[in-house]
Each structure stands twice: as structure tokens, then as C-alpha cells.
């Protein structure tokens, strides 16, 4: 390891420390070997300027991307979550946009948090917002491209969904909660927590805005199967297998669903 690498490893590790560096005698001693003191600051205090910024910058970035989680948790639990997350998953991407990518997975085992299931649903929604926000825009499927397919070809067709679309199967009605929190611009102090309620969403981009629509179980199952590359015929069968009511719904409404999904730009290709 070169001298430069060794110096940079020391500083990189020090800046990710959660507590004031001046309290750690090992860091203080090494800082004195590497960094000049000035008339007003010790070497460790100079390093501390950068350490404070590491936490401020990444906390601010996560707050921008996950305002709903911050609103549910309130300041104290939010700060603990950010601390535990950044310690467990230090930023690796060049872009702050990717900072929260692993937050939903991290929350699955974050037993220290109150309302963890609600927070987890909010994290899934807010990360989906980030993915949809800057995903590529592809032109919607032209209806005539499937009009010429016979019944057999249609059943075996695999439909491509828009990259600016995410399907979310959640346990709580978090979109409404998030909207209320964003409107309130604060924590959940006076807002009641929602009761669990199955919430199946399509989050997608219309024009440049991220919007969502709710789906019933059968159309959600069908669309979710399509998103995994299942053929149209098998996706319909998966939806029908949910029960008699769902099967009847597929039989009766599938053409309407597809017309709506094509109009909204959910489907961008067929192969």
C-alpha cells in the first residue's frame, strides 16, 4: 500500500465515524502525524470539519429522497435510522441519487424502529419514486402492432412494460399518508397513523410528473406477471387462478384494462 493510499484510508474511515474525532485518542494521535495543526485548530479538529460535512450532506440527501419516512419517524428516530444505515451501507455510488437504494432492504431487519412495517412500505414507495423520476422515456406501444396478431400469437406474446413504471404491493395506504406529510411539511405529530390496508399501486411517469394509480388484485397480478416476462396468456391465467371472482373479472374486463394501460404508456413493446 502506498503512502497516499494509507493516508486516504485513514481519512476515509475517520470521516465516517459517528462521534467527534477529538474524543478518540487513536484518531487524535494519527491526525497529529498526518495533518498540520494551526493556531486555532488541532489536526483532529481540522479533520472534524470534513467529518461533520459527511453526515450533514448524506442526512440532507436522504431527507430529500425519503421525506415520508422522516415524517413518520420524527427527528430522533429518523436520525438514528440515518446513522445506522450509513454505518451499515456507506455510500458507494458517485451519485447521491443512489444513496437510498439499499434502504428498503436495510429496513427489513431494522428492529429498533417503531412502525417498521409502515416505514418499510414508505421506503418502497419513495425509492420507486426515485427510480421512476429519471428512468428512460420510451414511446408507448402502438395499438396496431398487436392488432395483426392472431389469438395464438397474442397468448404467447410477451409485453414490455415502461422502464418508468414500478409495481408496488404494499400493506399500508402510504401514498395518501405521504401526500399529507408533504403538505404538512413536518412530522406526523397531529396526523393519525393509517391502519393496514392492502395497497396495490402502479407508479409511473405521465409527462414529467410521477403519478400513481391503484389496481385491484386481478389486474395487478396480471401486470406484475407481465413485468416478469411471463407471456400474456400465462399472465391472464395467473390472474384467473386467484379465484372465481377474479377469473370473471379478467374475462369481462381484460380488454378494457389493456386499452387503459396502453393509453397510460405502461406498455412500450411486444415480442
Amino acid at each position: 500500500m502506498s503512502e497516499l493510499d494509507r493516508l486516504q484510508d485513514f481519512i476515509s474511515a475517520a470521516l465516517r465515524r459517528r462521534r467527534d474525532l477529538s474524543r478518540d485518542p487513536v484518531i487524535v494521535a494519527q491526525a497529529e502525524r498526518e495533518i498540520h495543526a494551526t493556531s486555532h485548530f488541532s489536526p483532529a479538529r481540522h479533520l472534524e470539519i470534513y467529518r461533520e460535512q459527511f453526515w450533514l450532506r448524506h442526512t440532507q440527501s436522504l431527507l430529500e429522497d425519503f421525506p415520508g419516512i422522516a415524517g413518520i419517524l420524527g427527528q430522533s428516530d429518523w436520525e438514528r435510522l440515518v446513522e445506522e444505515y450509513l454505518l451499515a451501507q456507506p455510500p458507494a455510488s458517485f451519485s447521491l441519487r443512489d444513496l437510498g437504494e439499499k434502504l428498503p432492504a436495510f429496513l427489513e431487519s431494522a428492529d429498533f424502529l417503531p412502525q417498521r412495517e409502515l416505514v418499510l412500505d414508505m421506503a418502497r414507495l419513495e425509492w420507486a419514486h426515485i427510480e421512476v423520476f429519471d428512468a428512460p422515456a420510451l414511446p408507448p406501444l402502438a395499438p396496431e402492432s398487436v392488432a395483426t396478431l392472431d389469438e395464438e400469437a397474442l397468448a404467447s406474446a410477451r409485453l414490455l412494460l415502461s422502464p418508468a413504471l414500478r409495481l408496488l404491493d404494499l400493506s399500508y395506504p402510504v401514498p395518501e399518508l405521504r401526500n399529507r406529510l408533504l403538505s404538512a411539511k413536518g412530522s406526523l405529530v397531529d396526523l393519525p397513523l393509517p391502519e393496514p390496508s392492502p395497497t396495490r399501486l402502479v407508479l409511473y411517469r405521465r409527462e414529467l410528473s410521477t403519478v400513481h394509480c391503484r389496481l385491484r388484485r386481478a389486474p395487478f397480478t396480471l401486470l406484475e406477471a407481465l413485468s416478469r416476462g411471463v407471456s400474456l396468456g400465462n399472465a391472464c391465467e395467473a390472474a384467473c387462478a386467484l379465484g372465481e371472482r377474479e377469473a370473471a373479472s379478467v374475462e369481462r374486463e381484460v380488454a378494457t384494462w389493456f386499452a387503459d394501460w396502453v393509453a397510460r404508456g405502461f406498455i412500450v413493446g411486444v415480442r
Binding site: 502506498s2 503512502e3 497516499l4 493510499d5 493516508l7 486516504q8 484510508d9 481519512i11 476515509s12 470521516l15 465516517r16 502525524r33 498526518e34 495533518i35 498540520h36 494551526t38 486555532h40 485548530f41 489536526p43 481540522h46 479533520l47 470539519i49 470534513y50 460535512q53 459527511f54 450532506r57 448524506h58 431527507l63 430529500e64 429522497d65 456507506p90 455510500p91 458507494a92 455510488s93 458517485f94 451519485s95 447521491l96 441519487r97 419513495e126 426515485i130 421512476v132 423520476f133 429519471d134 428512468a135 428512460p136 422515456a137 422502464p163 418508468a164 401514498p175 405521504r178 408533504l182 405521465r206 414529467l208 410528473s209 410521477t210 403519478v211 400513481h212 394509480c213 391503484r214 397510460r264
Partner: protein, 327 residues
């Protein structure tokens, strides 16, 4: 890149920031160019790319990055360079810039512009990589002097010598941040005039000027507030030494109304014209001793305690979306 004259003087520009999108696109104010933070637009679609395309309809755009990591153990990632080059092809930027810094180690990206030690090892590392970056991008490449809040015992030369060595060995440009000279001079007890005289003038492809925040024992490069008089003095000195070169106003924190920023750009034009006129006469418009004295006098003056500080400027993020609706 071999000489600064191969890079055009674009005039005076400002950083393109989210709060100004509407005003810029509706009014199309007369500005010579915009500078973008490359990383904010290295995404495949959505609002960031839409707004960039609209801006490109009217304006020249120059790319400036904050995450290349030219000096870290890992160095620039091939994927990062691929995306940077793809964006450069779309913007038509006449050059690409980043910073003399390192950004992390052991797979961690700290999203900061950490100072390098001014050593032979760092010169070799940065100059070799900078040459590769320039060849890969197939565009003139420049590195910017950063503001810093610590200095290393291992440094064996002043910062200006380090900048000179790297730019000469790599045959790249220098993005001269005049405010950073002022900030680092205060923080480390340097002479800003000597710093400015030490930089390789023929390598300068662009100048940055910005506001800063004095927090008492040190100054932070916050890009907040108007450019202060001693920084304008240093800017004029730089222009008198370098000649006509593209100049950019950076304002990234507590971002003001567009008209305030445009007025700052007008001020830059006026300062630039004054310096170029003095240069043509073989004179100077700056009292160097007064600049030194002002820097010394700053110690002990009242300071701001809530500086705010977000390196790289605000980004357009999904978390700020407020127009969700149930379809």
C-alpha cells in the same frame, strides 16, 4: 489540449440550478453560457434531461463534475467516464472539468472534494489519470483548485506548484477558482497574491467566482451570497494576468431570485472589462497590499454560525416532487 487558445472564451455564465429553470426557459435571459453539474444529468430521462434539452436549445452548456475522484486510491470508474462522455456528446460542451481532489477509498464515495497532499506521488497519480481522462473524453479536460480546511505534513510544495506540475505533465487545463484561492489562503495563512502569481496562466480555461461564509476561525466555500469585494479584486488580478477567459458565477446555497444572479453576472462582466482594459494599458486595477490587508483584517470579525454547506450544488430530486395524484 496544448494551449488555452484552443479553448474558446465563452464570456460570463452562471450555474444552472433547479429554482431558475422556469425563469430561464420562459424569459431566456441574455447569458453567454450555463455550467451544469454533470452528475445531476447523468441519468437516462425524466425532468433533469428534459430541462437540459430545453436549455440547450438556446444556450452553450459547459460541464463541471464533482465526483470523478481523480486522486483517490480507486480512481475514476470506467462506467462513470462512459456516462460522462455520453452526456458530453449531447451537451456539446467545449471542455469538461472536475477537481484536484479525492472522493473516497475502499469502495466508499464520500461525496466531498478532499484535498490531496502536494507530493510527487500525488502528482504522478493525478497527472497520469488526467491524461487518460482527457484522451477518453476526446475533449479538453481541466481540473479546479479546491478550497480546503486542512493541510498535510507530507506536502512538499505549495499548492500552486502542485497545480502547475500536474497540468503541465498531463497537458490539461486549469479551472481557476478565485474564491477558493481566497478561502484556502485565509484558512492556511497563505498569500493569495503569491498563489495567483504562481499558477500557470496559459493553462487556465475557465474561472469560477463565488460567495463564501466566514465562520470565525475559518472560511467555508459555501457558494452562498454575493461575491465579496476582495474576491472581485483577486478576480481582476487573475484576468489581468491571464487575459480574456470564460468566467462563471457559482451560487448554490440560499439560491436567490434569477434577477439577483443575473445582476451578479453583469458585475462579473464589468469587473472583467475593467481588468482587460488595465491589462491593455499594461497597468493594474488592484491594490495587492489592500487585498492582503483585508484578508488579515478578517480575523476577529463577526462570523456566521449556520453556514449550510452542500458540495456540488442542489440537485433535482424525486423527493421534491409534490404533484402526485391518484389516476
Amino acid at each position: 489540449m496544448t494551449e488555452r487558445t484552443t479553448v474558446p472564451d465563452l464570456g460570463v455564465g452562471v450555474g444552472l440550478r433547479v429554482p431558475h429553470y422556469r425563469g430561464v426557459l420562459e424569459r431566456r435571459p441574455p447569458l453567454d453560457f450555463f455550467e451544469i453539474i454533470s452528475e445531476n444529468f447523468m441519468v437516462p430521462g425524466g425532468k433533469p434531461r428534459h430541462h437540459l434539452e430545453r436549455v440547450l436549445e438556446t444556450y452553450r452548456v459547459v460541464q463541471h463534475g464533482v465526483s470523478l475522484d481523480i486522486g483517490g486510491p480507486q480512481g475514476p470508474s470506467p462506467e462513470y467516464l462512459r456516462r460522462l462522455k455520453a452526456l458530453a456528446r449531447e451537451t456539446g460542451t467545449p471542455w469538461v472539468s472536475d477537481h484536484f481532489c479525492w472522493c473516497g477509498s475502499s469502495g466508499v464515495h464520500l461525496h466531498d472534494l478532499l484535498p490531496l497532499p502536494y507530493t510527487e506521488e500525488a502528482i504522478r497519480r493525478v497527472s497520469e489519470r488526467a491524461r487518460v481522462v482527457q484522451d477518453t473524453l476526446e475533449l479538453p479536460f481541466a481540473l479546479e483548485n479546491t478550497s480546503s480546511y486542512l493541510t498535510y505534513r507530507s506536502s512538499s510544495m505549495p499548492e500552486w506548484e502542485f497545480l502547475t506540475e500536474v497540468t503541465e505533465r498531463a497537458d490539461i487545463g486549469l479551472l481557476l477558482d478565485v474564491n477558493n484561492i481566497y478561502v484556502s489562503s485565509y484558512n492556511h495563512g497563505l498569500d493569495p497574491i503569491q498563489f495567483l502569481e504562481g499558477i500557470p496562466a496559459h493553462r487556465v480555461v475557465q474561472i469560477h467566482v463565488a460567495g463564501h461564509t466566514h465562520v470565525g476561525e475559518y472560511i467555508i466555500d459555501t457558494h452562498r451570497g454575493p461575491i465579496l469585494p476582495p474576491v472581485w479584486d483577486l478576480y481582476r488580478l487573475a484576468i489581468e494576468r491571464i487575459g480574456s477567459v470564460s468566467t462563471l458565477i457559482e451560487w448554490d446555497d440560499a439560491i436567490p431570485e434569477l434577477d439577483v444572479l443575473l445582476a451578479e453576472a453583469d458585475q462579473a462582466r464589468s469587473e472583467r472589462d475593467r481588468a482587460l482594459a488595465a491589462r491593455a494599458r499594461g497597468e493594474t486595477s488592484v491594490d495587492a497590499e489592500a487585498v492582503r490587508a483585508a484578508l488579515c483584517a478578517l480575523r476577529g470579525q463577526p462570523a456566521v454560525r449556520d453556514p449550510g454547506w452542500l458540495q456540488g450544488g442542489p440537485r433535482e430530486s424525486a423527493g421534491k416532487e409534490s404533484d402526485h395524484e391518484a389516476a
